[in-house]
């Protein structure tokens, strides 16, 4: 099934289906390695609930939930949408 990156639960892993949004934010996400097919694991959320920390391509990246919303993830479990 698909859900956006910010909807992952800590410890959950998925692969990037596509990256929405546009302009600079999208380019930044791509530059940091969030491209279709990439595996991303949600590590944790910051103490006050936002931003989130994810592991991608062997390093730790922090993004705000509002930016993570643009990243659509394929995750295991449930039927595909």
């Amino acid at each position: 099934m698909q859900k956006s990156l910010d909807q992952l639960t800590p410890g959950e892993t998925g692969t990037v289906a596509r990256v929405g949004g546009g302009g600079m934010i999208k380019r930044r996400l791509f530059d940091m390695g969030i491209t279709p097919g990439t595996e991303i694991t949600l590590k944790k959320t910051a103490p006050l609930g936002d931003p989130i920390e994810v592991e991608i391509r062997g390093y730790a990246l922090s993004v705000r939930k509002s930016e993570a919303e643009a990243v659509v993830m394929n995750v295991e479990g449930g039927a595909s949408l």
């Binding site: 289906a17 390695g33 006050l48 922090s62």
Partner: protein, 705 residues
């Protein structure tokens, strides 16, 4: 020969630069923007002096993730690589963090597209080996088609070989190559490259990639070329998930290529990500419950170690307690400047110098400069802690922790780093706002900067805290820092609702692996700051101190009057401005003009406030003017007589919130690149200072002080 150093942030680039250039490093500016341009010279002792490789200029490019056109750092880096300014490099040393190979190679694939020779410096291979992983440099080198040299910038390993290989390839040419040649876009891409070749443009491969990305900078001024590129691009069929986005397609092609071809160069022991140590540290430092308390504890310790008179609890064991390192060093520095002053005074006396000359040199110059210099240790202590936080990787965690609370006020967690730097010095802090992508947010951050009390303001707080609040010195200083933060929050809300409408910018930030702070980096950073401060103290501040001394010892007809009297030039000017400051509480005494003059000179540099107060309030201590304790005591007594506690806090608040210094104004001007915004900013600072001091004075009075 001239080599450029390029690489991701946190790749060890600064460490390598410091290692290569040592004491020859100096910092300048890139033309047109205020991104730091660091340069230095590497001397190769292994070759003859006649060899072109004996002396190599090293240019440190800003740390970047990509050569996209979105941030000033990226634009500077690629303009330099493409030799837009005519002083381009003979070779690029691309430093790559072996522990973070995929993302680091993303920039490498872009650098490879230029026609400049490249050497890859594979850094932190020692860390990789320690984690049990192996990396095949030869396979990597064959893939890339450029030399790959394993180094450890931290342990200074492999540097000689790196530079020798670099020299070899710098003497040969190179043709750019792109991973796009290995993608479904290859055919169309080849046709665009040919187009640029036909036109005889430099770096045709690089330009072709940019053209595919839709980056109009590189289609040149030829409308025909632009049209033909569009035609070619029109026939490229992108995969559906890329949604027709060519920038995405290029980024995707790069990462696909890296994953397919380079990932295999590393063999990892199974089940180990290589990030385990940082992850363990973060399980505490960014912990849901402990993260924020630990952060505030760190902040408290930084200020306690820098400013506390006795360190916590030590007064239970030792009489008067043990002073903090900051205070201890400050005492030593004070003793040193006093000794120099005394020796000079003795020398002047033996030479039979006139009272006039002695007054100028001792009471004017030495008192002013010496007073300011005695605070250098504490300013450096603060920088030391900031440098360590930056060097270890904790700064990024601070942004991670603080983004949520700051975003409410329209500031992103990333702005937290420069704002925190503001506690050291507004000038580098304002330059640090370049990491922010959004223009409005940069302006906002710059406008808030003075409210984060900088090191140069510290002498003011220390002086007033000691004189007016002797039993609560640390609390008074803490109150000032608190007032500053409260003012910043209030101002941010007001500005975001009025002239800088909008929300906090994007937050996409690497949390780099933790490292031990590198002594060389921290020392280089401290030295740079110390030198800047000493230069200012001995030039601008020394000059201004002499001017103030002159203005306070002469009247408008240039005849000498009683020092600091109201007949002096400074007295007349100060008196004229007094009415503006009367509602703020500290301008009601007969000698209020002295405080006003100190405020005015403080607009030039905050160090001036203390030296001005010193010169103006320093009553004549008969025949004993050099006994520092007596002089300091007399000054404190003069301040107590002139400032009530509420008036002192009001005076401190005005200095906290007003125009920080001429250097900061010049920086704000350069960073905002708008005369209109500079004047708005200056007006905003002065207005906030007045309103802030007004509120503090009356609130303190209401609380019964």
């Amino acid at each position: 020969m001239r080599f450029a150093l390029a690489g991701n942030p946190n790749s060890g680039k600064t460490t390598l630069f410091n290692l290569l250039t040592g004491s020859t490093a100096h910092v300048g500016n890139w033309p047109g923007v205020t991104v730091d341009r660091k340069e230095g010279t590497y001397r190769n002792k292994g070759v003859k002096a006649s060899d072109a490789c004996e002396r190599i200029d090293i240019v440190d490019l800003p740390g970047i993730y990509s050569l996209s056109p979105y941030t000033p750092e990226e634009v500077v880096a690629r303009n330099y690589i493409l030799d837009e300014m005519g002083d381009g490099p003979d070779l690029i040393i691309n430093i790559v963090d072996a522990t973070n190979l995929e993302r680091n190679l993303y920039l490498t694939t872009q650098i490879m597209e230029s026609d400049i020779p490249v050497v890859v410096a594979l850094n932190m291979t020692d860390v990789l080996h320690r984690n049990g992983a192996k990396i095949d440099e030869r396979a990597l080198s064959e893939r890339l088609g450029v030399p790959v040299v394993a180094i450890s910038a931290l342990h200074a390993e492999g540097i000689g070989e790196l530079m020798n290989r670099a020299c070899e390839v710098a003497k040969k040419g190179r043709k750019g190559s792109s991973v796009i040649e290995d993608s479904p876009m290859a055919e169309a891409f080849g046709r665009i490259v040919d187009l640029f070749r036909e036109k005889g443009l430099s770096h045709p491969v690089f330009r072709a990639v940019k053209a595919i990305e839709g980056d109009i900078l590189y289609t040149g001024d030829n409308a025909d070329v632009a049209r033909r590129i569009e035609e070619i691009k029109h026939n490229i069929a992108l995969r559906p998930e890329l949604e027709g986005d060519f920038e995405a397609a290029v980024a995707d092609a790069r990462y696909r290529y890296i994953t397919e071809h380079y990932k295999s160069a590393i063999t990892r022991p199974s089940g180990k990500s290589g990030r385990s140590t940082s992850e363990k540290i973060d399980s505490v430092l960014t912990n849901k419950v402990l993260g924020l308390p630990i952060f505030f504890l760190f902040m408290f310790l930084v200020f306690h170690l820098t400013f506390a008179e006795p360190l916590m609890f030590t007064d239970r064991f030792v009489e008067d307690g043990i002073p903090s390192p900051g205070v201890l060093l400050q005492t030593w520095m004070g003793n040193f400047t006093d000794a120099v002053t005394e020796a000079t005074a003795g020398l002047l006396e033996s030479m039979g110098a006139s009272d006039w000359a002695t007054g100028l040199i001792i009471d004017g110059l030495f008192a002013g400069v010496g007073g300011v210099l005695s605070f250098l240790p504490q300013i450096l202590m603060l920088f030391l802690f900031l440098s360590i936080m930056e060097d270890t990787g904790y700064m990024a965690r601070a942004a991670f922790l603080m983004d949520r609370p700051l975003r409410r006020f329209g500031i992103s967690g990333k702005a937290f780093l420069p704002l925190l730097m503001g506690f050291g010095c507004s000038v580098p802090a304002m330059m640090g706002t370049r990491t922010l992508d959004d223009e409005k947010e940069r302006r906002l951050t710059i406008m808030l900067m003075p409210f984060f009390s900088c090191g140069a303001k510290l002498p003011i707080w220390s002086m007033f805290a000691a004189a007016i609040f002797p039993n609560n010195a640390d609390k008074a200083v803490f109150a000032i820092y608190f007032i500053g933060i409260a003012a910043a929050i209030g101002a941010a809300i007001v500005l975001r609702g009025t002239i800088l409408k909008g929300a906090a910018s994007v937050f996409i930030m690497e949390l780099p692996a933790y490292h031990w702070p590198k002594l060389r980096n921290v020392a280089a950073n401290l030295w740079e700051k110390a030198r800047g401060f000493i230069v200012r103290a001995t030039t601008i501040i020394a000059g201004a101190t002499i001017v103030i001394w002159f203005l306070s010892n002469f009247d408008f007809s240039f005849s000498m009057v009683d020092p600091n009297s109201q007949e002096s030039i400074v007295g007349v000017l100060g008196s004229a401005l007094v009415p503006i400051f009367r509602p703020l509480g500290f301008a009601s005494m007969p000698d209020a003009w002295k405080a006003v003059v100190a405020i005015v000179t403080g607009l030039i540099a905050k160090e001036m406030v203390v030296s001005t107060l010193g010169v103006l309030y320093n009553p004549e201590v008969e025949g004993d003017a050099l006994e520092d304790d007596a002089a300091a005591g007399a000054l404190a007594a003069a301040l107590v007589a002139s400032f009530s506690p509420a008036a002192a806090l009001s005076f401190m608040t005005f200095n906290l919130l007003s125009v920080p210094c001429m250097a900061a104004v010049a920086t704000a001007n350069a960073e905002m690149r708008s005369g209109k915004w500079l004047w708005i900013t200056i007006g905003f600072w002065l207005l906030t200072a007045w309103v802030g001091a007004f509120i503090v004075y009356h609130a303190t009075r209401l609380m019964g002080f």
